[in-house]
């Protein structure tokens, strides 16, 4: 048979031959050039090596053909070095004259030694193998059946009975056959499937002889193990993995499991000590592993991996058939079913092998599944993927990389698990055979399609054969379990050439193509055609600091993936006092991550969620509730994901959660707690949470939210009022006028509180007016009493963080006494109040104290506000004041949505100036709320529709932005945040991205300012 791969003879060989001739005949100086042209990386070194062939005088020089062939391998330097080494070992018989005489032999030998140092080593050591390999044995090209191999071995070993000697012969045969198979690999004389089978056959025969040898030795020491009915107890060696699948490679481990059957003990002859059968087989197993793995001067047979046995490395080495059954029946895991697909009897009792296979069948291939095997296998696969992604050298790994050998095996085994239950023909331990059968599998009635289409099966087979051949070539080159495609250009080219490709590029693109096709199939099978999101529970299976987990979480939208991973693990592991608590968390996890990822701030959201669960306790029960109740889950994740303000409330007082979602009583009630500031604070927090929750859940409009916050402010203020009043009266007595009548008092509100537009975290604008001068029963002047009372009110509101009060609306502003008498206030309004105060006071209303008296104060205020038309001077003053309010200097650089040009204040000013203008004549137009005022003026035709609606729209938008900022952070700032915070805010407001959001805000504000300026200009005309 012609070698499958020959250098293209037509074009290259003549040139190479010519160059080779020149290199070998020219003198040293002239030989360098042709050597370099032949592809030698180091021609000087090559020349030196060539000189050494001139050593033994009788020996022929290196044939020209050999040098030309070396060039064709792509590794001429290495090939020449090995060839010369071989010639030296071969001695004066003259290796080169053989090569000269037999071009085929020459070509093959050059290829083998160029490509494999490992095989060259064997040839150097046992150079009598050389002619056997290249001339005598027909099996370099023809397939060798196991039975034939066994016969060959029996002939070699038949006469030897001594233990070590037998092993010696066995090692030699193993080496020789290994050489034969490896050479066939490089020469490409056998398909991948045949190579894998011959390697497995060789291992079978070795294990078989080794087992016999060990068994024989143990019998001599302890006698033969017999069962209770005096029949021989049986022993079985099971091969798994690539070995079990008869697709072995050159240097990975062989996976074995030992099984025995038949309780009893050994029957020693003569002086031997009897052993329990279990012990006998344990020793047999140990000895067999020792023989197979022992490194002697002759090398070793195989690395053996016994970790696939029941209970893994911690289990006993050998299991009885019954123990194995018990184990798989009760504790067998999905990965064990998958792994046992490959189980094959390789040596030992044939009948026990059949029993073992029959026992495993229902475990591996149950007719029905309890849970989705797809999902479970995916979890295993994800685990493996995660671990691969962390390997720094995984890049070129054809075994482990995505779309590589492991993926193909997974696809095939997964389909086998799925189809094998009802389609017995799918049960093959060999990957290529299984692919064929999966493409054939059809249900009797044609109801079920084949697991793989013909095209898919072809793609998988081609890829598998390609990868396995690459793997084999890499391993035969070094004798080590290599899986990495070389990065070095020359090595890559050599690999490409021996694979039959023209150059490295053609090879690399073929490799990439196979990977891609496998990857696609893999994705289609494991993730569904629609690339459904993968279950994130694998995140809980990988250890902390996992780079894969980090990357996954970053891809899900978390900025700090590592921290998110730590938090998830903390959540999963939190003292779960509820059985199945972890399962509840796993069930919750996908939804938790999805919702958080969609939240404005996933990172903080997860942190707050973790803190909340920690603070609340009973995580298991909480997870199960969250999982079951969509509304509850949405709410909690919304709170954690978008509101630091609300989440902090919950974290500080977890009892609020019960009030929020349970049916707690609202308000202060009439219980004994009424007088307690802390009870007021809790009531406020409960209400804030409820209002915030409804807002987040979209259960309340913006207007309703602000109104409820306003009402809450009133309720809190009135409760605190009650709390402050009693003690002060008890101490100083009630304030009275000169006639001895009680003096009344009113708390008035301006600003947003006055306009019923309070936001989260808003200040309350308050001022205080009392009825008239006089003294309390104990002689304290009323002015002192009410100033003290007002100050206490402010202090109490501040004490539990209820509200901060802005009292600058009072006459004379910040430096004046806190409370003023009505007479003094009237005088102030009549004589000293600035005309801009008309605007500020247009929103005044009474919020606590005596209602009737409050109404009197308000009448006085109204007279002041609406005592005359809006004159140009007022408008100018308002404009000037508006300008003063704008942020100055450095602060200007950030957009201030409240006080900046075109901010909320612009709209408020427009509303107020219109209220002053039109309210002068029409009482019904005297409105405090910005929104109501604008609506009213549009309806009444005082404001044209276009601008009116724009202002309403802008007001709503900017207030929503403001609310978003208040909910997201603790500080009440009016400046748009920057960086990450801006990003979070824009997401909270549903903007496409930061730029779009900023653009939107700026557009609204610029347009608002244009409307503002135009309207004010019209007023001064």
């Amino acid at each position: 048979m012609k070698p499958a791969k020959t250098p293209s003879e037509a074009s290259v060989v003549p040139t190479a031959l010519e160059l080779a001739r020149r290199a070998l005949t020219a003198d040293a100086a002239k030989a360098l050039d042709p050597l370099e042209q032949l592809g030698f990386a180091d021609p000087v070194q090559a020349l030196e090596t060539l000189d050494r062939t001139g050593g033994p005088p009788q020996s022929a020089p290196l044939p020209v053909l050999a040098l030309a062939e070396l060039a064709a391998t792509g590794r001429p330097d290495e090939g020449l070095r090995q060839l010369v080494r071989l010639a030296v070992a071969y001695g004066p018989q003259g290796l080169f004259s053989h090569l000269e005489a037999d071009p085929i032999l020459c070509q093959r030998l050059v290829q083998v030694v160029s490509h494999s140092t490992f095989l060259a080593d064997i040839l150097v050591r046992d150079f009598e193998f050389l002619l056997w390999l290249l001339v005598e044995t027909p099996h370099l090209v023809e397939p060798l059946e196991r039975s034939t191999l066994r016969q060959i071995l029996r002939t070699d070993i038949g006469h030897v009975s001594e233990f070590e000697e037998r092993l010696e012969v066995l090692r030699r045969v193993h080496r020789r056959e290994f050489l034969r198979i490896g050479a066939a690999e490089i020469l490409g004389t056998k398909p991948v499937a045949q190579i894998g089978k011959e390697l497995a056959d060789l291992a079978d025969v070795v294990v078989e002889v080794a087992l016999e040898t060990c068994q024989h030795a143990l019998w001599q020491e302890h006698g033969q193990p017999l069962d209770e009915r005096a029949r021989p107890a049986r022993f079985l060696v099971v091969g798994l993995g690539k070995y079990g699948g008869q697709e072995l490679n050159y240097s990975s481990d062989i996976d074995l499991i030992f099984v025995w059957d038949g309780e009893g003990e050994t029957q020693p002859e003569g002086e031997g000590t009897p052993l329990e059968n279990s012990e006998f087989f344990r020793r047999l197993g140990q000895r067999l592993v020792h023989v197979l793995t022992e490194a002697t001067k002759e090398g070793f047979f195989y690395r053996v991996d016994m970790r696939l046995r029941p209970e893994g490395a911690s289990g006993t080495l050998t299991h009885s058939l019954r123990a194995s059954w018990r184990y798989y029946e009760t504790r067998g895991e999905l990965w064990e079913r998958q792994m046992l697909i490959k189980a094959r009897r390789v040596a030992g009792s044939r009948t026990l092998g059949e029993q073992y296979a029959a026992m495993l069948r229902p475990f591996i291939y149950p007719a029905h599944f309890h849970s989705a095997p797809h999902e479970e296998i995916r979890r295993i696969k994800e685990r493996i993927e995660a671990s691969i992604r962390e390997r720094p050298r995984g890049e070129n790994n054809i075994k482990l990389q995505a779309g590589g050998i492991r993926d193909i095996e997974f696809i095939v085994q997964c389909l086998q698990l799925l189809y094998g239950g009802i389609q017995p023909q799918a049960r093959s331990h060999n990957t290529l055979a299984a692919i064929d059968r999966l493409a054939e599998v059809v249900s009797p009635k044609g109801a079920m399609k084949a697991a793989l289409t013909a095209a898919e099966a072809n793609a998988l087979k081609n890829a598998y054969e390609f990868f396995r051949r690459v793997e084999n070539l890499l391993q035969i080159a070094s004798g080590r379990p290599d899986y990495a495609v070389p990065e070095d250009a020359q090595a890559l080219r050599a690999l490409a050439l021996v694979m039959g490709y023209e150059d490295a590029r053609a090879f690399s693109s073929a490799l990439a193509g196979h990977r891609l096709r496998v990857r696609r199939l893999f994705a289609a099978l494991f993730y569904g055609d629609t690339a459904a999101p993968r279950s994130p529970t694998w995140l809980l299976e990988v250890e902390n600091g996992s780079a894969a987990a980090k990357a996954d979480l970053v891809a899900r939208g978390f900025v700090d993936g590592a921290a998110a991973h730590r938090r998830l693990q903390r959540l999963a592991g939190m003292g779960l006092l509820l059985s199945g608590g972890r399962a509840h968390f796993e069930a919750l996890l996908p939804e938790l991550l999805n919702s958080l990822a969609a939240a404005p701030d996933p990172d903080q959201g997860l942190l707050r969620f973790t803190q909340l669960v920690e603070a609340y306790g009973a995580p298991g029960a909480l997870y199960s509730l969250l999982q079951e109740h969509t509304g509850f889950r949405t709410l909690i994740i919304a709170i954690c994901g978008s509101s630091r303000f609300l989440a902090d409330l919950l974290r500080r007082d977890p009892a609020l959660l019960d009030s929020l979602v349970g049916q707690a009583d609202w308000g202060l009630g009439s219980g004994p707690a009424r007088g307690d500031l802390r009870a007021i604070a809790r009531m406020q927090n409960k209400s804030l949470l409820r209002i915030g929750a409804d807002d987040l859940m979209g259960l309340a409009t913006e207007e309703e939210t602000f109104l409820r916050l306003t009402e809450l402010g009133e309720e809190v203020l009135q409760a605190v009022y009650g709390l402050a009043w009693g003690p002060l009266v008890r101490r100083w007595g009630k304030p009275r006028n000169r006639q001895g009548r009680d003096v009344r008092f009113a708390v008035l509100a301006g600003g947003k509180f006055g306009g019923r537009e309070v936001d989260f975290g808003s200040d309350l604008d308050l001022f205080f007016v009392y009825e008239g001068d006089g003294k309390t029963r104990r002689g304290v002047p009323n002015s002192v009493f009410f100033t003290e009372f007002s100050q206490r009110l402010i202090a109490l509101l501040a004490e539990e963080g209820l509200y901060s009060v802005d009292a600058r609306l009072r006459p004379e502003g910040a430096s004046a006494p806190m409370a003023i008498s009505l007479v003094g206030y009237r005088r102030y309004l009549a004589q000293r109040a600035a005309s801009w105060e008309r605007m500020a006071l247009s929103r005044a209303r009474q919020v606590a104290g005596d209602a009737e008296f409050g109404a009197r104060v308000l009448r006085a205020i109204e007279r002041f506000v609406y005592n005359r038309e809006v004159e140009a001077a007022l408008v100018a003053q308002m404009q000037e004041m508006r300008q003063r309010m704008e942020p100055q200097g450095k602060r200007q650089t950030r957009i201030n949505i409240k006080r900046g040009p075109g901010g909320i204040v612009d709209i408020e000013f427009v509303a107020q100036v219109l209220v002053l203008k039109w309210g002068y004549r029409d009482r019904s137009l005297r409105v405090g709320s910005t929104r109501h005022a604008l609506q009213l003026f549009i309806e009444q035709g005082c404001l044209d529709r276009e601008r009116g609606h724009f202002l309403l729209d802008a007001y709503e938008y900017l207030r929503a932005v403001e609310k978003g900022m208040r909910l997201a952070s603790e500080r009440a700032s009016d400046a748009l945040p920057t960086g990450r915070e801006l990003e979070i805010l824009s997401r909270a407001l549903g903007a496409k991205d930061v730029a779009a959001f900023q653009d939107e805000v700026e557009t609204y504000m610029q347009q608002t300012r244009r409307v503002f300026s135009a309207l004010f200009a019209e007023l001064t005309d």
Binding site: A621, A655, Q663, A664, A693
Partner: protein
Amino acid sequence: MKNIVAFIKPFKLDEVKQSLAAIGLVGMSVSEVRGCGRQRGHSEIYRGAEYQLDFMPKIRIELAVGDGQLDEAVEVIMQSAATGEVGDGKIFVSELIEAIRIRTGETGENAL
């Protein structure tokens, strides 16, 4: 001897445990429970019913005490588990017929 079973709010567990430890009661079993049925005071139908729950998680603690310690134990649990809100939980007390320490065979209050 009496057996005490108390259902408390989860975030009160540490407080309750500490208070019981302060009077020398350290052995108890703790588990999470999800009640079913309705929390008392369930009358108001609020518009936010979208996220209303019938029952929030509770922690169930169970401990056995000598007759002499019953009142104190109940008092301590009541104080430390109270939030003053609806759903603070309940305490159940029942007679305990016998207690036996498996290792030593001690019985009665000696076994507690």
